[in-house]
């Protein structure tokens, strides 16, 4: 008979060995929504961090699509990752660790002044900082140089207006071949869309987050929306997302539209398509200043992180010039890195940075009111209705405001 004692003994040895290795190696959980090449970059950064901290293992958890569902489920179950990508601060901030004291403590090393103010605004709720920006993008207009040359249209310049854009777009209209000058999204992300209201001197919601009437449905807001609807009506632009999921970038890469408003996330695909393109800043409304929405990926620490100190070390490294420079799929959040890479002078990248300076004056609506998510859906419907209707923006926006009133208190 196999000795029972010996079995128990070896099991105990195994168990002890297990705890021993667990102690030697600390595992830091890091959740991200990135996929593909962007994910590979995160894994690279995590590997660098492991090299600098022997005995630490960073477990990169790519939640991809449905990031929020998975993350919120992890929080709900009381088992959140230590460090995670974050954008929806109003939703999560009560479960995140405020970083102000840590930032102040390590200011010499972190150099917080190197981060543009506009980006820091997106990681703050009620005056407290709940994350560090790690990558960002502003919005620009990509244009097809070959199409412009062939049609004999002058390329866009700094300081151009929407009237200029419309005049140029009209010259590309070629119905039989389904070629257009521009594309208007019937279902834009309201988050990004607010840039047009800012640029036209209004916003979705008052700064105290308590009033939408007279903001979301102001004449300036309706004017913006009617302009886009009119572009579609006059066929200066093709309408995207009306029951069809052909994307603007697909049309642009295929030479079907001459100008395409988008952000950094479209750039690598356009590069790969091999077309000759230029980048122009967002047009202005008349002589008003153009603003851009800020798409910011930030990184945060869970309030109940299993390894809070290590998590902060990781956030610090993630924000270091070294790690920021490794992120080539979005724009560097450190001014010094952007300058060092020559991006602020490069004609392709320059428009992305130029508009950043004017985009720190406004705060996105969702940071002002906890119920914004529901309000936003009513707004999205008003935008879509205006596109289908090809006008009547005021009426649709009034409707959205009325439907949302109970949510804004």
């Amino acid at each position: 008979m196999l000795n029972r004692k010996s079995i128990i003994g070896s099991l105990m040895v195994l168990a002890m060995a297990g705890t021993a290795t667990a102690r030697a190696e600390e595992t830091l959980r890091f959740a991200t929504w990135d996929t593909d090449e962007s994910l590979a970059i995160q894994q690279e950064i995590a590997k660098k961090f492991e090299e600098k901290h022997p005995g630490v293992k960073v477990q990169v958890e790519p939640y991809a699509d449905g990031y929020d569902q998975k993350l919120i489920a992890a929080f709900g179950a009381g088992n959140p990752p230590d460090v995670m990508y974050m954008w929806n601060f109003p939703q999560y901030y009560t479960s995140l660790k405020p970083l102000d004291d840590l930032i102040a403590k390590d200011a010499a090393e972190l150099k917080p002044d190197d981060f543009p103010q506009g980006l820091m605004n997106t990681v703050r709720v009620e005056g407290k900082t709940y994350g560090m920006p790690s990558g960002f993008t502003t919005q620009v207009v990509f244009y097809n140089k070959d199409m412009f040359a062939k049609a004999g249209v002058e390329e866009p310049k700094d300081g151009w207006t929407w009237d200029d854009l419309r005049a140029k777009a009209a010259k590309f209209r070629d119905e039989p071949n389904k070629v257009y000058g521009f594309a208007v999204d019937a279902k834009p992300d309201p988050y990004d869309f607010e840039q047009f209201l800012w640029s036209n001197g209004t916003k979705y919601i008052s700064d105290d987050g308590k009033k939408i009437d007279g903001y979301m449905n102001s004449d300036a807001a309706a004017q913006v929306l009617d302009m886009f609807a009119d572009m579609a009506k006059k066929q200066e632009a093709i309408t995207l997302n009306l029951g069809d999921d052909t994307s603007g970038s697909t049309l642009f890469k295929g030479g079907k539209i001459a100008m395409f408003q988008s952000a950094m996330w479209s750039k690598s695909g356009i590069d790969a398509s091999g077309i000759k393109y230029g980048v122009a800043p967002l047009p202005k409304f008349g002589d008003k200043t153009a603003h851009s929405a800020l798409g910011v990926s930030a990184i945060s620490i869970a309030k109940d992180a299993a390894h809070p100190d290590l998590a902060w070390e990781f956030v610090k490294f993630f924000s270091s010039p070294e790690a920021v420079a490794m992120r080539v799929n979005d724009l560097p959040v450190r001014t010094s890195v952007a300058e060092e890479k020559g991006m602020t002078k490069d004609p392709i990248y320059k428009p992305f940075f130029d508009i950043l300076a004017t985009s720190n004056t406004e705060t996105h609506a969702f940071l002002k009111n906890a119920n914004w998510g529901k309000v936003q859906d009513n707004l999205a419907r008003a935008i879509e209705a205006t596109m289908i209707d090809q006008g009547n923006a005021k009426q649709h926006l009034d409707d959205a405001v009325n439907r949302s009133k109970r949510l804004i208190k």
Partner: protein
């Protein structure tokens, strides 16, 4: 004598033991179901009912609000009534179509003698396709510029509409896509048709009853319980319509396909307002329950169960 006594005692003990075994054994055998029911049905049911009385964000404080979720849903939230109305409209068209078409298909397959196995499989197959794959197929079919449907229409000189982009057509598109799954209903009705005794038809034929009358007086009554079953399950599945709308139209355009299930889904997984979503599910449960009860009640008028004796039947026999 001692031995006999001892023997008697053990016999009693044995009988006792076997009685326990006799009563316990069946429960033991069905215990997997009982446990499953407790943990996966009754538990969540009670849990969600509790949830519906709370302001229950996934992250942050939970507060008891009593009937507040129900009150604001019924009296303040236009989205609730709109999504419910869309669902009712959908059900009103989908349910009859689903049953009539399944019935006609079943009838056809019942009478087909040539390659019947092949046809049965062919008609049943689409209902096996998973929701996501189904939607992907339909989004190709409905695509305005490159879609199969508009391509076909172009042959007969029709400039196809924007199926998923038009608020009036999108719901029609969803009904058609939903009917794709009628193979399941068809199979149930086909089974029912096969179970009707041939003697009834033979007797009728001998008596010179015409075909249409055989349909009305034999087939339909004999199929009653099956029709009732498919009627109720169709109503339930119509109210639970989510996948196709969520993936094909995302509730649009202009919320024209924003079904009630999607409203619940959004409250739960988009706004993370779990209490409100739970209240929505209970409202749906009550609506479906009432509808089902109503149909059951009404069915007494037209569903005949074999072997059932009715009061007025007695008179006729007397």
């Amino acid at each position: 004598m001692d031995m006999t006594y001892a023997g008697a005692e053990s016999k009693v003990a044995r009988r006792k033991r076997s009685a326990i075994a006799r009563y316990a054994a069946p429960y033991l055998f069905i215990s997997p179901w009982i446990l499953g029911f407790l943990f996966f049905t009754l538990g969540p049911l009670v849990f969600s009912l509790t949830m519906s009385f709370y302001d229950w964000p996934v992250v942050g404080e939970r507060t008891f609000v009593g009937l507040e979720n129900y009150r604001s849903m019924l009296f303040e939230d236009p989205q609730f009534w709109e999504s419910l109305w869309i669902t009712v409209k959908f059900a009103a068209i989908y349910v009859p179509f689903n049953i009539v078409m399944s019935f006609l298909l079943a009838l056809m397959l019942h009478h087909i003698t040539f390659a019947s196995g092949f046809f049965r499989t062919a008609f049943y197959l689409p209902s096996v396709i998973s929701g996501v794959a189904l939607v992907t197929i339909w989004s190709w079919i409905y695509s305005r510029e490159y879609g199969l449907l508009n391509f076909m229409l172009s042959f007969v000189g029709i400039d196809g509409p924007n199926w998923l982009g038009d608020p009036n057509l999108a719901i029609v598109a969803i009904i058609i896509a939903s009917l794709w799954g009628l193979g399941g209903t068809m199979l149930i009705l086909l089974t029912g048709l096969k179970a009707i005794p041939k003697e009834l038809y033979e007797a009728a034929t001998v008596s010179g009853v015409p075909g249409w009358a055989q349909m009305v007086f034999i087939t339909l009554p004999m199929l009653g319980p099956m029709l009732l079953f498919t009627f109720i399950t169709s109503i339930i599945s119509a109210f639970q319509q989510l996948t196709i709308a969520l993936l094909l139209t995302k509730g649009g355009p202009l919320g024209s396909t924003y079904f009630f299930a999607m409203y619940i889904y959004d409250n739960a997984f988009k706004y993370f307002d779990m209490g409100y979503a739970a209240a929505g599910s209970w409202v749906m449960f009550i609506i479906v329950l009432l509808l089902s009860l109503g149909v059951m009640r009404w069915s007494a008028a037209w569903v005949y169960y074999e072997g059932e004796v009715r009061e007025n039947d007695g008179d006729r026999n007397a």
